[in-house]
């Protein structure tokens, strides 16, 4: 039902869908189930998230059993957003530290298992920028806006390449450290083996000498 309505609206409006489009990711939640989506974010990057429950019936209000509980946390445990039993909501914050940020959705238990469809739109970095505001402020025309957007995208690609390079270097260091550790450990193992054998030999020799067998 909603699909037909939406596509009808699309046809009527035809064009004018600005770059940060209102389309997003959808997934299903069973009652009592928790689903988490995590995203790796760099420090000081903007992020915007919008979520809402897709109504099975457009006319009737959403029953309590279909309401969501949302929690957005960083990998260090800091809570950035939480909402209980809501139908829709949004959050926006600047990532303080680099790492995995997790948005968890939970639907309360219900005796006949119900499936709730959640529509979630999470944008970070370049895509989080609100281009409508930029357009409003600067009174720039659409093409210039597009080109600005492309320029920002290119910048972010460049930065990402630097980041990937750094990570590759870190991994190389890690591998080198592991190799050198293995090198020393093999010497240690040889030494240990020989010393254990020597100790055994010395101990048994002195034992038998004590027992006057040798």
């Amino acid at each position: 039902m909603t699909m037909i309505l939406r596509s009808a609206l699309v046809l009527v409006l035809l064009v004018g869908i600005l770059s940060p489009a209102s389309e997003s990711l959808r997934f299903e939640l069973q009652s009592g189930q928790t689903k988490c989506i995590s995203e790796d974010m760099k420090s000081n990057s903007m992020t915007v998230g919008k979520y809402h429950v897709v109504k099975p019936n457009e006319d009737h209000p959403l029953p309590d059993s279909h309401k969501l509980t949302v929690k957005v946390t960083s990998s260090y445990g800091n809570n950035y957003h939480s909402a209980e039993k809501v139908e829709s909501g949004q959050f926006a914050f600047t990532a303080a530290e680099q790492g995995d940020y997790m948005a968890c959705f939970w639907v309360p238990e219900h005796s006949p298992q119900i499936t709730v469809t959640v529509d979630f739109d999470w944008r970070t970095g370049v895509h989080a920028k609100d281009w409508t505001n930029v357009a409003k402020k600067g009174q720039v025309d659409a093409m210039e806006l597009e080109l600005k957007n492309l320029y920002d995208t290119v910048q972010s690609i460049h930065e990402e390449m630097f980041y990937l390079r750094e990570r590759e270097e870190e991994m190389q260091e890690l591998n080198k450290a592991t190799t050198s550790k293995m090198f020393w450990l093999s010497f240690l193992s040889l030494f240990l083996c020989l010393s254990v054998a020597g100790l055994q030999f010395w101990h048994l020799k002195s034992f038998f000498e004590k027992k006057k067998l040798i």
């Binding site: 489009a21 389309e23 299903e28 995590s38 659409a142 690609i157 890690l174 592991t178 048994l204």
Partner: protein, 212 residues
């Protein structure tokens, strides 16, 4: 949703058909089947993306079958499928508009984290150009440029995910190797001590002394 569209429509005089539907590379834990839905507005849009299984604290043996990936069109038929893989890229043209279903299936019982990125790109065609007088041929070029940049971004996200998995493998290998080495030493020492104790026991007075 419709309110936002109405506002942008009113705000922007010029119309841009180069819409970009993005899902940043997200991670989901797959226990059995995880499905994600994306709406494709225009028929003929290119759906591209990639996914990488980032090991979920468990080292994957070489006999792990991998994860299956299926894309179902709104009509119900499977448009694209990949079986038993630990990560791959995909790209295809959407045969029709509607809600597409992207499913990951994990045949094993251990949960696996999948990092995926799906992008639906639209480039205006001559048909759209003819329909709308505000649309320049330059908009087509800008849309193509945008799509090319998006493909670079997609590659980067794929590389980043693979690099993360590689790092996990390396760290786990390092831990396990050091653990096994230390365990080996302890075991060796223990066994040799037990040997010595046993030999001493054989020679003790309580056990048959004259036997030896």
């Amino acid at each position: 949703m419709e309110k936002i569209w109405g506002k942008t429509w009113a705000l922007m005089g010029l119309l841009l058909l180069n819409s970009v539907f993005n899902v940043s590379s997200l991670s989901v834990t797959v226990n059995d089947v995880e499905c994600v839905y994306e709406y494709v507005i225009y028929e003929g849009d290119t759906i591209s993306g990639n996914f990488v299984v980032v090991d979920h604290d468990i080292f994957w043996g070489s006999d792990h079958p991998g994860i299956d990936f299926t894309v179902t069109s709104p009509g119900g038929n499977t448009v694209h499928s990949l079986k038993g893989t630990s990560g791959d890229k995909f790209e295809f043209k959407a045969p029709r508009s509607g809600m597409y279903k992207f499913c990951f299936h994990n045949p094993y019982s251990t949960p696996e984290s999948v990092s995926f990125y799906i992008h639906i790109g639209h480039i205006p065609t001559e048909h759209d150009l003819a329909k709308d007088e505000h649309l320049d041929p330059i908009n087509v070029k800008i849309a193509e440029l945008r799509e090319a940049l998006e493909s670079v971004t997609a590659e980067q996200k794929y590389l980043k995910a693979r690099d993360t998995r590689h790092r996990h493998t390396n760290e786990s290998t390092r831990k396990r190797v050091i653990g096994y080495a230390v365990g080996e030493y302890i075991l060796l020492t223990l066994v040799s001590t037990l040997q010595v104790i046993y030999i001493r026991h054989l020679f003790s007075k309580s056990v048959a002394y004259n036997r030896v």
